[in-house]
Amino acid sequence: MSLSAYSKASSPAHFSLFARTLHWLMAAGIIAMLFIGVGMVASVSERHQWLIQIHKPLGVALLVLVCLRLVRRLAGGVPTLPLDIPSWQRLAALGSHILLYVLMFAMPLIGWAMVSAGGYPVTVGSWQLPAIAPTNAALFAWLRGAHRYLAFLLFATVLLHLAAALFHGWIRRDGVLASMVRGR
């Protein structure tokens, strides 16, 4: 991701409809995914089965969306933050957005690799995807742990992102939240 994402060069005045649609689709998908994931591994009922049937295709859909989204971001840029934002907040915004992008790629890829390493067929709906990791129990265990703890990290980052967005919208009222809600 470009570190110049917050520079003034080539920054649009607001997020396009395409960018906002991607953002809100993925926001809904990621939050649903986090709750589905944490719910399915805590259930022994039939819920366990149908949540997995949603978890895998939704994960693939989010992987496709984040690819589109990264291309859009690198090509279209993002609006600059207001000039009076302290530098530590600017840094935190940049850092948390990089982390969000890394996790949005990592989570579905780790999930896919984990199923592969466990020797399971990678079935998504009625599709069979290729394995992207060798069958290896130690690798499976490592990826399984990573999938869990990075999901917790992603949830915490999403909450931080949400709190910061509301801080901009309700307290600073500086147009940052509005840029993603209304596009201006």
Binding site: S43, V44, P82, A137, F140, L166, G175
Partner: protein, 367 residues
């Protein structure tokens, strides 16, 4: 282009800022609490896969690298020779005429990988069929025709009731009696177990899939089925004799395989519309039609510490197109609990047989 400061936004007073900060904090806290609730952390009584596995570990101890249930076993390999007879009922590639590679595991129920072979009268057979198209069918079968209990909660309660007494290191008979008194559905199993003897061989046992499934044919029609493996040409299972040691099953298996492959027929029983598919404690009536789908041919065995079955989670919900789970509540519970066991044991590294250096072949008497 930087944002323009909003000229119409009146400055907030301290009280408004506090209120709004409080609202943001409340939203974050509520979201975190909802996540914790869904994850089962707020409800210590919810039956989760980890709690099922915890109960198994409490009863049998933690044996690093080993399965938390059916911990003692042996890997086997071979193939399935499909007769083609089940292909009209299920479009699964495994049922088309021809051979499919299988990796299996013969085992004892219970969480102790060092349990004497005569400690339980039950043996189990798990199989993984891998079709050339990459699809897999995994199934775990047991040598009894019915499961004692119908629900995951009852299975968990049974583990709690069977918790070994600290003095005797055995389950408290009173508590077990009280448990089965409260679970009349276990009657068919208890009737079976009263006459069951620990068999001296894995090879002479029949193994029952216990749970109902659906076969889906090429027109999408679903047929309720149950399957079992029936040994070919084997004499009735002999009971273990007093001269047998603690690990006679593996030795017997190796001896038999040295003289040729072992064969089981895969019989698929078709349920009728009103046969229940959600109760593993009951068999379907004897007159239901059955199809001989083919023969499982086992040609080799290997230690479970290094063999090809070691890293396989025999999750019975891993199915090819053409087989689907039924509404039996044990199936999702098996899938979920096996996954928890698999995660634990793979993160512990490969099993280390701590008994292999000590003589484990001391005379051990069958009941």
């Amino acid at each position: 282009m930087p944002y323009e400061p909003k000229s119409d936004a009146r400055p907030l007073d301290a009280r408004q800022i506090c209120l709004r900060l409080g609202a943001i904090g409340a939203i974050v806290l509520f979201s975190g609490a909802a996540f914790a609730y869904v994850g089962g952390w707020l409800d210590p009584n919810r039956l989760t896969p980890d709690r099922v596995v915890d109960a198994l570990e409490t009863n049998s101890g933690v044996h690093a690298g080993y399965r938390r249930n059916h911990a003692k076993g042996v890997c086997v390999a071979g193939h399935f020779e499909s007769s083609g007879a089940a292909h009209a009922l299920s479009m699964a590639a495994v049922f088309a005429p021809g051979d499919t590679q299988v990796i299996g595991r013969l085992a004892l129920p219970g969480g102790n990988p060092y349990a004497p072979d005569s400690s339980v009268p039950i043996r189990s057979f798990a199989l993984q069929f891998t079709s050339p198209n990459g699809e897999q069918w995994r199934t775990g079968m047991n040598s009894m025709p019915v499961f004692p209990l119908a629900t995951p909660q009852a299975f968990y309660d049974q583990q709690v009731a069977a918790r070994p007494d600290p003095q005797t290191h055995k389950p408290d008979p009173q508590r077990m009696k009280a448990f089965f008194g409260a679970h009349p559905e276990a009657e068919a199993f208890l009737r079976w177990v009263r006459t069951a003897k620990p068999s001296a061989s894995y090879a002479t046992e029949s193994y029952y899939g216990l749970n109902a499934f659906y076969f889906v044919d090429s027109e999408g029609k679903r047929h309720p089925v149950r399957w079992r493996l029936v040994p070919e040409g084997a004499a009735a299972a002999p009971a273990a004799q007093p001269q047998h040691d603690a690990n006679y099953l593996q030795a017997d298996l190796e001896q038999r395989l040295a003289t040729g492959p072992l064969r089981w027929h895969l019989w698929v029983t078709l349920g009728q519309a009103d046969d229940s598919t959600n109760d593993a404690t009951k068999q379907w009536p004897d007159d239901r039609p059955a199809v001989d789908a083919g023969t499982v041919v086992i040609t080799s065995s290997a230690s479970q510490d290094e063999g090809p079955c070691r890293d396989v989670n025999y999750d019975p919900t891993i199915l090819p197109r053409g087989i689907a789970i039924s509404d039996d509540p044990l199936l999702p519970a098996r899938s979920a609990a096996y996954a928890a066991s698999y995660e634990r044991r793979t993160s512990e590294g490969p099993p280390h047989n701590t008994m292999s250096s000590s003589p484990s072949n001391q005379s051990e008497h069958a009941q």
